[in-house]
């Protein structure tokens, strides 16, 4: 049942989005005297919200970005992003906020630290080592595959052998 619910939530949206202003408490500046307020237009705010939401992972549908997911939590996260940007926070500050609450995994591109460093570095390393291995192997084949190194055929006259060698060597 949970799996079905997940599929339903992460698929196309059927429910209308809720837009409720933040009610968390003292944390959010909503145009209070002296608090920073963004100078961006509504359209610019929407665009910036989409940008930030594209970099955050939906906590419910983990392989989707918040901007793509129609899970309710993602929609609420988008509203939170917009509220914070409207209050003057920078995208970096908004990202830092989510990392401070959820952890590094909330970013679709975690910073390269600890195990994440291994995840980024290892494929490159494997590619390099694998490439070096292949190169060495191919060179070995090229050497042993030359006409001079081939085993002589049984029961073939010298004239036929020479004809054969010529045919192989010809490009």
């Amino acid at each position: 049942m949970t799996a079905l619910a997940l599929v339903l939530a992460c698929g196309p949206a059927l429910l209308a989005a809720q837009e409720t202003p933040g009610a968390v408490g003292a944390a959010e500046a909503e145009g209070a005297a002296g608090a920073p307020v963004s100078e961006l237009s509504e359209a610019e705010l929407d665009a910036l919200t989409a940008e930030v939401a594209a970099e955050l992972r939906c906590p419910v549908c983990r392989n989707q970005a918040v901007i793509e997911s129609s899970a309710e939590l993602s929609r609420e996260m988008q509203a939170t992003i917009r509220t914070k940007l409207a209050a003057g926070e920078s995208p970096a500050e908004v990202r830092a906020y989510f990392v401070s609450r959820y952890g590094e995994w909330i970013l679709l591109k975690p910073t390269a630290r600890g195990v994440s460093l291994a995840v980024y570095a290892l494929p490159a390393l494997v590619l390099l080592l694998g490439g070096a291995f292949l190169l060495a192997r191919i060179r070995g084949w090229a050497r042993s595959g030359s006409v001079e190194g081939a085993h002589p055929l049984e029961g073939v006259s010298d004239e036929d052998q020479r004809w054969l060698d010529d045919a192989i060597r010809r490009p």
Binding site: T2, A9, T20, A23, G25, E72, V99, V126, A132
Partner: protein
């Protein structure tokens, strides 16, 4: 083929296999919270009865902050443990506080009418407080010490042994201590519900 090249391929594979092996040991549903050991984010929300409750009001008491929803099956499973906590502890010492997650007041009230529970539940419109606590599904329970810091976050349904051992440890700490509590691990279940189920 020369002897040196023979070990090159296995050498390339080993760190990769180690990483994959490490990955298999991870439970991707239960993710560590960066909030453990840090002060609990403050909030002030409307209760089910229309009053307002702020986390500040509870400073000095151990708080079992439980995020729940009426559509969440494991929340029903853990409900008796919360009921027992509510009936065991002196409310001046330790309280259970519920936060309704992505649910209507009507549904939440019906749940409480049916299953009981005398502790306060607050409504979280817009999921703001849940996001502030890094909640991504229900149930999730935060054990907050008397100094207001989050000692432990539990993902999935709690049971009485877990609640009792954690709350007892936190009660034993003098107010003002900021130690994280490592309660005894008793039957941790994987995270059960992350969205509204078709009920």
């Amino acid at each position: 083929m020369s002897g040196m090249k023979a070990w090159l391929l296995p050498m390339a594979a080993i760190p990769f296999l180690l990483l994959l092996g490490y990955g298999l040991t991870r439970d991707t549903f239960v993710l560590p919270s960066p909030l453990e050991g840090r002060p609990a984010p403050d909030f002030r929300l409307a209760t089910m009865s229309g009053d307002s409750l702020g986390l500040d009001d509870l400073r000095g008491r151990v708080v079992v902050l439980n995020f729940w929803a009426s559509w969440c099956v494991p929340c029903r499973v853990e409900h008796p443990a919360l009921l027992q906590a509510h009936n065991t502890y002196d409310p001046d010492e330790a309280v259970v506080v519920g936060v309704v997650y992505q649910d209507s007041k009507g549904n939440a009230q019906r749940f409480l009418d049916r299953f009981g529970g005398g502790w306060t539940s607050v409504l979280d419109p817009g999921t703001r407080v849940a996001i502030d606590f890094g909640v991504y599904g229900v149930p999730e329970t935060f054990f907050i010490g008397r100094d207001g810091s989050i000692a432990r976050k539990h993902i999935g349904p709690v049971n009485w042994e877990l609640v009792k051992s954690t709350v007892d440890s936190l009660l034993a700490l003098p107010a003002g201590t900021e130690e994280t509590v490592t309660a005894v691990d008793v039957g941790e279940s994987p995270h059960p519900a992350t969205t509204e189920s078709v009920d």
